[in-house]
Amino acid sequence: MNYYTPHTKEDIDAMLKTIGVGSVEELFQDIKPSHRPESFKIPKGKSEQEVLSHFKKLSSSNCAAITKFLGAGFYDHYIPSVVDALSGRSEFYTAYTPYQPECSQGTLQAIYEYQSAICALTGMEIANASLYEGGTALYEAAMVAIRATGRRRIVVDGGVNPIYRKILYTYTNNLSIEFVEIPVSHGQSAREEVFKYFDDKTAAVILQNPNFFGAIDDHTDIIDKAHSVGALAVESVYPISLGILKTPGEMGADIVTGEGQSMGIPLSFGGPYLGFMAVKKEFARKIPGRISGATVDKQGRRGFVLTLQAREQHIRRENATSNICSNEALCAMRAIIYLSSLGKEGLRQLAELNYDKAEFAKNTLDKIKGVEVKRSSPTFNEFTVLLPKNADKVVRAMIAHNILAGLPLGKYYKGMEKYLLIAVTEKRTKEEIEGFAKALKKVL
């Protein structure tokens, strides 16, 4: 018998007798013998000690302690212990889909607080309970715009994360949507080119701030122009940067999305991450995802429930706003704990630290012969440098110095093989930055 079910032979015999079947094999009669696995070839079990030792050995081949200057959408920020301590409570950590209001008021309130924090952060009016990550969130935003305007052209700024753009095109592959991509000019949105595609066929323009190259910009003029032709504006943003930058809400954006990993979620080799979406009130019924709402019970006491569920697929089926029927509750929990522990002032200080350290890094690297820090736009905590050598080779050479130097932009942008995208968060010390410069000098 197999080792993984808790049933004894007696349990199984009793169940078979009850349903009038002779053996477990009989239950699989409908599957042709040629289609059945001969065996599952599962090796013999190991002790807890052996298993832990095996995985520890595997994980030791990760360079977890490497000094990280790699960003490109996912950042090495400090996670305060309170995030693990609180989100690790079994009520939050192990609960699955805890949305029955009669027994999940704690979770529903936490999600409501998370939604409120996202609104405060972005300057928007309504946020959902989270999406999977920033890329699919951006796709969902494009679909909201298409639904809301009834138009089918989406203008995409070339500074939007290339991974997100790929997700956007993959998801919409079988839909008749016209995408127009406008490459950036000197690291910024190329207004004249972008405006050429703004007319009554345009559903939305998709922008990112800071953009993939780290450049920051005020997109208010682009958003105003989009509105003038009845198109919507989608902004993909970096939460920590909002500690000091003009919010997308202030710029007039209609839909805001982004990656919430920087708010208390470890890098974890790619996930789980946290997508967020926040919109102007008028789009509340057009957005996907769960929404936690505040209400009162029959006795007038405040309570929380999942609301506006008629948008969702278990009710609307093919007319639903999306087929997403989940969210990233645990990650959203971590994010709200993270933001609460930082507070408004703390977030501002954190953003300033990121900015200052990146500026220090820029000035330090500028001094290296052959290295050109691109300064055509202001940046937040990420910037582009032009190297005298192939950036990919430089990054590989820097690993030997225990430094993950950044993203070679040639990976996503043809012709930029000598460009390196470097991120500097609050975790990078003066010594680490100076060490980076020293190592880079050697490698070059």
Binding site: R285, A310, I315, R316, N319
Partner: protein
Amino acid sequence: MSIQDKLLYTKEHEWILIEGNKAKIGITYYAQAHLGDITYIEPPEVGKEVKRSDVLTTIESVKAASEVYAPMSGKVVEVNGNLDSSPELINKAPYDNGWIARIEIKDEAEKNNLMDSNKYKEYLKSIKE
């Protein structure tokens, strides 16, 4: 004669009251009773052209979201503005204050596809069985 007797009905439980070249549209008592408490109705766009059986709008209730179909072809010329703040009017007065939209009808002959109040009553009996 009650108001219901003057109306024409569809199998999808919409009613229509023809007033000259215009017509008022709503859903029947049976429809609102089965939907439950109505929480929201998306107002159809004024100026929207609909063909008979096209989706006019969607009604959301506590337990479902349901399409409202146009009983006849025409152009939406007016929507009931009270439904935004008081969607429950559809439950309380489905034939009266709970009307949904007014259209300018394209072809009066389309009314021959609809049931009068006696036929609708018989239809309701038949589906209840």
